[in-house]
Amino acid sequence: MNRFSPLSRNTMSLSGEKSSALELARGRLPFVAAFFALAWLLVAMRVFDLTIIQGGFLRTDERSALATAESEQEPVLRAHIVDRNGVLIATTLKTASLYADPKLVLDPDSVAGGLARIFPDLDERDLREKLKSNRRFVWISRNLTPEEQARVLELGEPGLNFRSEPRRIYPQGNLAAHIGGYTDIDGRGLAGIERSFDEVLSAGAEPVRLTLDVRLQYFLRREMAKAVHDFNAVGGAGLVMDVRNGEILAAVSLPDFDPHDPGTADDSARFNRITLGVYEAGSIFKIFSTAALLEFRSASMAQRFDAREPLKRGGHTISDYHAEKRILTLPEVFMYSSNIGSALMGEEVGTENLRDFYRDLGLFAAPDIGIRESGEPLVPYPWRDINTLTASYGHGIAVTPLQIIAAAATIVGSGTLVHPVLVFDETAAGSHNIARNAADLRIVKPQTAHRMRQLLRLVVTDGTGSNADVPGYQVGGKTGTADKIGPHGYDRNRRISSFLGVFPMSSPRYAVLIMIDEPKGNKTSFGYATGGWVAAPAVGNVIAAMGQLLGVPVVEQGEGPDELVASLLKHVHKEEKHLVSY
């Protein structure tokens, strides 16, 4: 009958018949029954689903792992810094940090004892206080080693817990501390590449690739550390550069520090002597003044300079440290490193010319290699004629070691300007310099560059740099020794001894610069602490090691003089063995 139809109220109302409450209830009963049946069915299906369908592939441990993985938002790990071969200089690892929830700690006394045994640097009494406090979260120790973590887990204390935290790791330790830099505990870059590339690194994308080669870095540091130790020096700076493209292959500043713990190092150790420290380089600057003479005056090798008497100009006297006291030819001035001769050269070049030449070489402005620790050179202002004379032999002008090696690379390389490069990175200053190196900006003529190579080779074969020679690699170079400025003018007992080596000289490929700060003479150097005795042997050792590592072809040396310098020797008058010179 229509009026009993459970599905149509319409019918019921249309029929107009009154139904008793009982009938209405009876009519609704199937709905209720169906509803409950359906509900039970759903529950049954869900149980079946959870136990049979999903039970197979979700085991409890995995489910909890999933839960934690979902709840914990993965922090972006700071990107690597790598060397040119992809060797890690800095990386970030997740480490466990230990904290405690004092409310859950069952027995604070025994737990404090156990923790004090695991972490000897933590005080047991402090720990006990921490574990008895009313807070729900106290740090115990951060960045644990896996071993420490295992031992804490063995305590089996429910109130101790770990939180995963990123930690910056420097696998090379001290080796590239000044260039790579360091971060604070929260991973913000505070120095070096870590600081200047902070944004790139913290985005966590591609690693920042440097031009450094960790192996060369090691050779350089090893030899510098030996020189610093042997000559009881206070520090040093060293660089290895690819002459052809300005890539910095190694850069070391001593003393250095552990980038994991920069806080314990003193300021002197953290000071970057490569790009931040400015120094008077002394006779190494004769490379630049001699090149200027050849470039502007097309000087001949037979040109003579009177070095018999100290040079007096405008109240200043310029004298030679180890005076020849005779008239010197141009190659002799260079190989015996005569200050008088170089000053006369500068005078002949002229003040304007020399100043502009130095500026073109990049000696007046700090180069941008992508590191913010960058020292501005100290250039005389105003530049008077006397400054031209002193700057010819490297006094009265202070520049960074990086500027020296780049300027020297410019002169002995192809003669086009070399911009130092530290970072292979499309977005950064590095690429800017890479592009600039590709664009030729000629500073000296190829003939001048060739003459300078001959002169540098002469210094090593017959002059002050003989300690840097490595048979077969055609090393050329220039010594430099500069007195440091003390409270009363130049201090004769505190000096910077340096050597700039280039090899192979017939077509220069690599330049090596080592500057040693305040060396003291020892027995092996007969008491001398000049560039030729302190830095030259170190440069020679670096060249020997890197030549073999990089497979630089060995040039067989025949009897007689090196063919590069043969044409110069007729202008050289050798009387005695020169042991010391500036």
Partner: protein, 162 residues
């Protein structure tokens, strides 16, 4: 005429709804399953990546030049050569030593069986003492070729098998 209580279309739509509901449920289950597999794989990937990071760092730490140098000094009886011992190229190698006599095949010698001590004593003086060329252990190039061919065949059959 008595109207049907439930229209056919209603039944059909109800059953369709139930069927699609069931299907939906099954699909949602499968999605759920796939998601959990995905997140498990992602978790695994994360752990692998972390392990790679750690191993990479450890590798470069263990390959620190100072450590390698120290280990080489300790365990290898080798040192960096002087530059005068390095040759510029292959052409600078000295001529290899060429023996004056062409190599000869040693004559066939019968094996002497030793039966008794006395026989051994008698045999001793006649035993070969020394020959200018020691008998080769493998009979020259042909045996090398055979070995090489065998190896090739081996490899070939492996390749086909795999």
């Amino acid at each position: 005429m008595r109207r049907r209580i439930v229209k056919l279309s209603t039944v059909v739509s109800f059953s369709l709804a139930i069927a699609s509901g069931g299907l939906l449920y099954l699909i949602s289950q499968r999605v759920h399953e796939a998601e959990s597999v995905l997140s498990r794989l992602e978790g695994q990937l994360d752990r692998e990546e972390e392990a790679i990071r750690v191993l990479h760092a450890e590798w470069d730490y263990l390959n620190h030049p100072a450590r390698l140098e120290q280990l080489a000094r300790q365990y290898l009886e080798m040192e960096a050569p002087e530059t005068n011992r390095i040759l510029a190229g292959v052409t600078d190698l000295p001529e290899p030593f060429i023996p004056a006599l062409p190599p000869q095949k040693p004559a066939y010698r019968p094996v002497i069986e030793i039966r008794s001590v006395s026989a051994q004593r008698r045999a001793e003086p006649s035993a070969p003492i020394a020959s200018p060329f020691p008998p080769p252990t493998v009979s020259g190039a042909s045996s090398h070729d055979d070995q090489f061919n065998a190896l090739l065949q081996n490899l070939g059959s492996h390749g086909e098998g795999g």
